[in-house]
């Protein structure tokens, strides 16, 4: 029985060599998922590991440490391409959740409705993992999240950071979330749009990522290609543009509703990105 709060990464990775260690950071997904009578006894708290709470920016890009909270993201001065991520950060649960919950925890929880995933997909984010046995590896976010509540994380592995390659200085972004109430709401659908315009104000590059409309949030690559050269004000989204999505019917909305709503949402996210 132990609750470990190491300050050095090698020590954390050493602890993970034992079987049955659960990783905890903000706790915002950990506790609600506990079932009656179940209490993991070996917990590795990653929030005090050196560097894990930092967002660092360099020529290569931006590194979001594994203990960086949503509030940290909101407070940090970041390029405009990160606006969607910041807007998403303000929509995660509530301020209480944003102060404790981490960006990395959000991707590790791998909920189809994770608010952080579409903006990170639109940023071409990568996930840095480490283990004592194999050292570091980096996976694209698309490869890291493999399904509903499934990731590529191995038992002895820790996500150390999210790495965002440096976006084009002119890239802007916008996030749209749809829920049945204002705060503390799980998304019915959400969209992040990162857009780069050419000198004529036409779309030179578009990255559109949609969440809550498939098992894993996804980029709509065919749509992205089709958007190039368009005036963002005139963009219209057709059913074919969202054909890759496979939303389900649940208490929050029907599949057909999501497919309809997300078309408007994509349009609005693009408008928000360029406004």
């Amino acid at each position: 029985m132990a609750y470990s709060q190491p300050s050095l990464l090698p020590d954390a990775l050493g602890i993970l060599k034992q079987a049955g260690v659960r990783i905890i950071a903000g706790g915002t997904d950990f506790y609600p998922a506990l079932k009656a009578g179940q209490h993991p006894e070996n917990l590795l708290d990653v929030t005090r590991i050196d560097g894990f709470s930092d967002i660092t920016q360099s020529e290569g890009g931006t590194r979001i440490g594994a203990a960086v909270t949503w509030s940290d993201v909101v407070r940090t001065d970041l390029p405009r391409a990160f606006d969607a991520l910041k807007q998403a950060a303000r929509e995660v649960g509530s301020l209480q959740i944003q102060n404790a919950g981490t960006v990395v925890g959000n991707i590790c929880n791998a909920s189809p409705a994770a608010d952080g995933v579409p903006p990170l997909l639109a940023l071409n984010a990568e996930v840095e993992l480490a283990s004592a046995a194999k050292g570091k590896r980096v996976l694209p976010l698309e490869a890291f999240i493999r399904g509903v509540r499934q990731t590529a994380l191995m038992d002895d592995e820790l996500v150390t950071a999210i790495i965002v390659p440096k976006p084009h200085a002119g890239m802007t972004s916008g996030f749209e979330k749809l829920g049945s109430r204002r705060y503390l709401v799980i998304s019915i659908a959400m969209t992040a749009a990162n857009v780069l315009l050419d000198a004529k104000g036409r779309i030179a590059e578009a990255r559109i990522a949609v969440g809550s409309c498939s098992a894993v949030a996804q980029r709509l690559t065919a749509l992205e290609a089709g958007l190039i050269g368009q005036d963002p004000a005139d963009v219209g989204i057709s059913p074919i543009d969202v054909a890759a999505l496979t939303p389900i019917d649940d208490v929050r909305g029907t599949s057909s509703y999501r497919l309809d709503a997300v078309r408007h949402q994509i349009q609005r996210a693009i408008h928000k990105a360029v406004s």
């Binding site: 609750y3 209490h39 408007h264």
Partner: protein
């Protein structure tokens, strides 16, 4: 640092002091604060980050203590509301502002609200409304509708005034200070740390037969102190709230009838129970096909839930007058519709909780409740004890709204205390609370209404089915109330209304603010709009034309020659109705995707029980030292009975509220003021308080032989009375004290005059009705189907506002619940058993609300006052639905109007 911390204390600063608790791995900070460190001011509403009640500051930042591993605060500064209140001037000022606005009602969310607000105000001393909403958006409140909290945090000018607290004065809540300082104790706040706890084992299936295996062996192996099953129920293993309908077992025997029904209870130390997975308990379940809805339950071949209730019909209600068929036959226009609604969860932020012990051979139960004497009677029945062997002492109640009228934790606590002889404690988890507490009845209503050429109503035919779930609870009340109220506050000469409660294998439906009337009002008020449209009449003027009035009979044939205030309510909205519609027209001309609409709806509600005795008793006394004591047994569940009843009493006596010492509900010392239900406390208990105050005053006047209008002054050991003839003094120390220590005392009761209903529902069901009309402005995003209320204007006839600030508080809270019912709330058994799948309105969902108080005095009400608690909810949902129709042209027949539903309906209307 890389070592297990579990065997060493974890030091941190708590409210400015050093703390160093021993922790186990992963222990929640909320538990450590409440159990180890005595911070019961930190409230637990959900244990999932959904309600924010447990908000504390860590290094100045608000977080949910229930989601924080306690180890994480090592070396850090933790502040709770009590610490902030004591140490931070910002918090002290905020507490005052909460009092000035009545921003704390039941008070269970207040710690979370205040902690979040202090964090904001430290950074932003003068926040905007949006900043307040963003900062406090993580804390749910079910009572206030949030607007008063916004005012309080923004430091708006005080609404409360500092006066003697006579009837009509907007004084602060008399029990407000204990709420804003978080010293008030709720159901889970009184048990001593370390006492035995109870884990109730519940059915995982909507319907199942079960066999209990070797429970004793399991208990021994697990280290439990005792177990309880149906065999331990020494009295009758059934309880209920309506005589003849006591059908709910404390523990099911052989078969369970709904998901979450109790079958056994385990009693043990907290650490022992924590390790128990309910699935490990030796019970063999065989799932049976369940009746999931009323259609299935009424099928000829359906299994019967209860013997003697054929076709699963629990009971019916009926009212008719005139000749509805003939009237509909000659009507110029007819509208009709079928309206359906689902379960609505009360979602008070305090889960059911309590504590029990055996004292001198008597069992004492302390729990949150709306009806302490009904709890006593229920316990008497299931325990098989004489009532003199039971004491019920209510704790503060963190919201009720109807569901805490029924017993919940009480039988388990009493049985466990009696079986073990030890102190025991039980607090439901949020999921447990949602699974097993009562709900608002799902409804299936068909209604036809006719009108003649001039717009007068001409025939009304209402038929409603209500899913009453597995057990009766308050279902019979719904079946009886709905036909009496389904007309709305209008003159309907030719009327028929039938209602029935149908049993299913769903959770028991019971009392929820309005007893089925809000569901009926949706059908009636929506069709009134359609009728007005068909007639080419203005929707407001159509209502005014048909509104009840003094001297005009109700559908029960009851004629009030005074006090009918619906016309005044509607007329009070006329100006806004014109203004807002013009504003909306201008808005819509400028906007394509987003459309606005204005809707109105009325409501009425009979105060007190329907044609049944309904007495309240209020006792008071004066001690030799001059203390005036009021035994105030009307449960204050946040609505303000402690304040309102005291204001009435003080006015009758001729004292100031500040001079009155309150003794709360306690079945040993305070007489029965009846249940907090049916909008009856201000009216019924208020009258008992008035009579009691008048009686005490009469004694004083008589002893001093002074005039009726003498002014009284209460001071230490004496009362001075001054009239035209001068001042006289009553020396209290010269009087003999009775066994309660009172030298003067009075106890009076009041029972509203009603007459039974005959077979056609004709009679005098209530001594008074209250009336209301709401206007709602909404914005509909037609692309996404989202509905955003923009503003409400609510006119309420309360007869006499005892405390206008508290009236506004009720109106705001009722509108918030009505809005939730209209736009987002639907409880689905097995699916939405938490507060993130079951959505109630948050801080950002309630727009500004303007309250118009109409005072059409009622001859029976204390100082003319009428009840209000349920009226505030009834017109809201239909006003919103009518506004959506105005905005989009689309009528919704099945709630709630979640975006998906609105979108689908809009789409259908286009194709």
């Amino acid at each position: 640092m890389n070592k297990a911390l579990s065997d060493t204390p974890t030091p941190f600063r708590l409210n400015g002091r050093e703390a160093a608790p021993m922790l186990f791995p992963g222990q929640r900070l909320s538990e450590v604060l409440r159990e180890g460190l005595g911070q019961r001011d930190v409230k637990i509403g959900c244990d999932a980050g959904d309600c924010g009640a447990c908000t504390v500051l860590i290094e100045g930042e608000p977080v949910c203590a229930c989601l924080t591993p306690a180890h994480q605060v090592a070396g850090r500064e933790v502040e709770t509301v009590q610490g902030l209140h004591a140490n931070d001037p910002v918090a002290a000022k905020l507490a005052q502002s909460f009092l000035d606005h009545g921003a704390a009602q039941c008070g269970i969310c207040t710690p979370g609200m205040m902690v979040s607000a202090v964090a904001l105000l430290r950074d932003v001393p003068e926040p905007t409304e949006a900043q307040v909403q963003d900062a406090l958006g993580g804390v749910l409140c079910r009572c206030t509708g949030y607007r008063k909290i916004i005012d309080a945090v923004m430091g708006a000018p005080s609404v409360a005034i500092a006066t003697a607290g006579k009837v009509g004065d907007a004084v602060q809540h008399l029990d407000g200070i204990e709420k804003v300082s978080a010293t008030v104790k709720y159901g889970d706040d009184i048990a001593p740390v370390g006492c035995l706890e109870i884990l109730v084992i519940r059915s995982p299936h909507a319907r199942a037969v079960f066999e209990i295996g070797d429970l004793e062996g399991f208990a021994q192996a697990a280290g439990l102190d005792a177990v309880l099953t149906a065999e331990d129920v020494k009295g009758q293993n059934n309880f209920g709230v309506i005589p003849g309908f006591e059908d709910q077992p404390v523990f099911a025997e052989r078969e369970t009838r709904f998901r979450g029904e109790a079958v056994a209870a385990l009693i043990g130390a907290r650490d022992v129970l924590r390790a128990i997975d309910p699935e490990m308990v030796p019970i063999t379940w065989t799932e049976l096909p369940a009746l999931q809805d009323m259609d299935a339950a009424e099928d000829q071949k359906a299994d019967q839930l209860h013997h003697g209730r054929e076709n699963n019909v629990m009971c019916t209600g009926f009212v008719t007058c005139g000749d509805p068929n003939a009237a509909l036959g000659r009507a110029h226009v007819i509208v009709e519709g079928r309206f359906e609604s689902g379960f609505v969860e009360h979602a008070y932020i305090e889960p059911e909780a309590g504590f029990a012990e055996v004292v001198n051979g008597r069992v004492e139960v302390h729990a949150c409740t709306q009806a302490p004497v009904m709890d006593l009677e229920g316990l008497e029945r299931v325990l098989g004890l004489d009532r003199s062997d039971i004491r019920v002492v209510p704790t503060a109640t963190g919201g009720g709204f109807g569901s805490k009228l029924d017993m919940s934790v009480q039988p388990y606590l009493a049985l466990a205390a009696l079986k073990t002889g030890k102190r025991v404690r039980l607090c439901y988890t949020r999921t447990e609370s949602m699974q097993c507490s009562t709900k608002r009845h799902p409804s299936d209503i068909t209604l036809r209404i006719g009108a003649d050429k001039t717009g007068n109503l001409c025939g009304f035919d209402f038929c409603g089915r209500f899913d009453t779930g597995a057990y009766a609870s308050w279902g019979p009340t719904v079946a009886n109330r709905v036909p009496v109220h389904a007309s709305g506050p209008y003159r309907v000469a030719d009327y028929i209304a039938q209602a029935k409660g149908v049993h299913t294998n769903n959770p028991p439906s019971g009392a929820f603010r309005g007893f089925g009337v809000p569901q009926a009002a949706i059908a009636q008020e929506c069709l009134f709009d359609d009728l007005a449209e068909k007639l080419g009449m203005d929707a407001l003027e159509f209502r005014v034309l048909n509104a009840l009035d003094n001297g005009v009979p109700t559908v029960c044939g009851q004629v009030f020659d005074q006090g009918v205030g619906i016309k005044a309510c509607l007329e009070a909205l006329r100006f806004a109705w014109t203004e807002e519609r013009a504003g909306v027209e201008a808005f819509n001309a400028q906007n394509d995707a987003v459309k606005r609409g204005v809707g109105i709806a009325s409501g009425w509600y009979g105060c007190g029980n329907t044609s049944l005795p309904n007495p309240s008793a209020i006792k008071c006394g004066i001690r030799a030292d001059g203390t005036v004591v009021l035994h105030q047994g009307a449960m204050d569940i946040g609505q303000g009975a402690n304040t309102v009843i005291t204001q009435i009493f003080a006015t009758a006596l001729g004292a100031e509220v500040g001079q009155i010492t309150l003794v709360g509900a306690d079945t040993d010392v305070t007489p029965d003021a009846g249940k907090t239900s049916a909008s009856r406390q201000t009216f019924v208990s208020g009258n008992a308080a008035r009579l009691s105050g008048e009686a005490l005053r009469a004694m004083i006047l008589e002893r001093l032989n002074v005039a009726e209008d003498a002014a009284l002054e209460f001071s230490a050991g004496e009362i001075q009375a001054t009239d035209a003839g001068g001042a006289r003094v009553l020396d209290l120390s010269a009087l003999e004290a009775d066994s309660d220590g009172y030298v003067l005392r009075a106890e009076e009761s009041y029972d509203p005059p009603t007459k039974p209903l005959d077979k056609n529902g004709q009679g005098h069901p209530y001594a008074q009705f209250g009336y209301a009309a709401h206007l709602a402005v909404v914005e509909v995003d037609t692309a996404l189907g989202t509905v955003t209320p923009v503003k409400f204007i609510a006119a309420h006839d309360v007869g006499q506002a005892i405390n206008p600030m508290l009236v506004e508080g009720q109106v705001h809270g009722g509108i918030a619940q009505g809005l939730g019912m209209a736009l987002m709330e639907e409880y689905i058994p097995g699916r939405t058993e938490n507060l993130h799948d079951y959505l109630i309105p948050t801080f950002g969902d309630i727009p500004p609300i303007e309250t118009i108080i109409i005072e059409e005095a009622d001859a029976h009400g204390p100082y003319g006052a009428k009840g209000l608690g349920e009226h505030v909810l009834i017109p809201t949902a239909p006003a919103i639905l009518n506004a959506i129709k105005h905005a989009t042209g689309v009528r919704l027949f099945k709630g709630p109007a979640i975006p998906s539903v609105v979108h689908a309906t809009l789409k259908k209307s286009v194709t």
